[in-house]
Amino acid sequence: MNKMARPPVPGIGITARYPEIGTGPVDTAIYHEPAIYEKEMKAILRRSWYMIGRIEQVARAGDFFTYFMPTFQQEVLVCRDRNGEINAFHNVCSHRGNVVEHRREGHSNGLFMCRFHGWSFDLEGNLARIRDEEGFFGLDKTCLGLKPIPMGIWEGFIWVCPEDEPYQSLEDFLGDQGRDTAGYAWGACTKSYQTEAEVACNWKLINDSPAEVYHIPVLHPHSAAPTMMASGNVMGRLLDVRIAGNHRTNSHYSVMGEPKPVQKLAYFHAAAAQNVARDDLDYEMPVGINATRSPHWTVDLIMFFPSIAFTLSAGMYTAHQVWPMGPNRSIYQQRIFVRPARTAAERFGQENTMVEFRDIVMEDFSTLERIQRALDTGQIRQFHYHDHELALRHQHHVVTRILAEYDRELEGA
């Protein structure tokens, strides 16, 4: 239990640090207009990088996984070859377009065999065998390998780009946000759960959902709010919001509240597979996490615009990932990363963490669909953001700016 006296609640004045973003109401058109979504697809979504897994999923030569990117209707095949390299391909057979590997993950003996007519490809993507090759007409096998998809690795995360020629490198895409958060214990949390739900709302609403904590005392009264209330932060204020190009980070402020009975079992008797107290960190916290070095820090929400944000604490993290499916439809995917459990008691700690984070996130979804109805029917034409909803205002600013730049790009072309 935290015996510290109640710390001072953070003040107002974060938005003023970014005068270019403004303070006025914003137009909600970008949250529902089909024509704007079409433009976002070209100007933002196709030009971005997407995290599809971690290197631990392909630990040994021959390990593979496949991943479907719903926004782009593209499926990716990731594998590790015998030289230890990780390769990523479009999971499309060069004969007539079936998937080359139909399983979600597994271990290959060195050949992926298409289940349609049996063409086989090796771990480097080369076309290794054509069944009854004699019947074809002078095919050049060297030109019929799997098509690579642009891929990069950051902190053990595997990212791909849906465009053959990426608009920018992964490093440039991640920018300062990537540099400043590298070095966190990303790779220590090797076990993960993943869930998904289709939510009838615009992709930006999914990003908005964890990006302000103004709502926590009201919408999460029994789950997330008690900690915040225990800290005296009844208005749901943040420690800090920092903007890094198109990306941004929120630092959350609170002190530990009284855990619920099952939480107590997990925290105190399950030897904490999930949580490491700040005081006994086994790594150095990078400059971009708890950047203000506040003793009242609990978690950061690290957003990599446009599609993935990490809620991370000292010892575990979850990823919120959105796959836009249209102006008012999205697939939300949550990954919950925990440290490996050694004993059966620690396994209970993992499950408790997953259930908590999963349920809290689902508490948010109904409001998102109600907002979208209000948007689609023209009932709300402006949003008014609180000082500590700066992350939402920033996202609006970034989207509007990129769409205007894209218009100028087209005029210039």
Binding site: Y193, H222, P261, V262, A344, N352, T367
Partner: protein, 124 residues
């Protein structure tokens, strides 16, 4: 019918929850929570919470991968306790606050209940 061999020695008082509350993975545990009455969930929760410390003390002596079948059942009862905890402690309802239909959630990846997990420093 539950026999005394279903759970480790000393946990006979929980035999009545086997096999109803023993499920093979997180996805099935969520389904069980959603399809149960709150009274039944509460009865399970209260009985399990009472024995939670003792169960974890027993489970702490076993590394994943070497649990005997009765130990696996005890672990799965505890994992079910984690699953129903929010229903009792937060919501008073199997569903989450503010009514999102939880059935719309799908699991894409889970962690095995019982398989050993690669530890830092283990050879790959």
């Amino acid at each position: 019918m539950a026999s005394s061999a279903n759970l480790p020695a000393g946990f006979a008082d929980l035999e009545g929850f086997v096999p109803e509350w023993v499920h093979p993975d997180a996805e099935h545990r969520l389904v069980k929570r959603l399809s149960s009455e709150m009274d039944d969930i509460r009865a399970f929760y209260v009985a399990m919470l009472e024995r939670g410390e003792a169960a974890l003390a027993w489970l702490r002596d076993y590394e994943l991968g070497v649990l005997p079948p009765e130990g696996e059942r005890l672990l799965r009862l505890m994992l079910m306790l984690a699953e129903v905890a929010p229903a009792v402690e937060w919501y008073g309802d199997p569903r989450v606050y503010d009514g999102f239909p939880v059935e719309r959630l799908r699991y894409l990846r889970q962690i095995s209940d019982t398989a050993p997990q690669l530890q830092p420093g283990d050879a790959r």
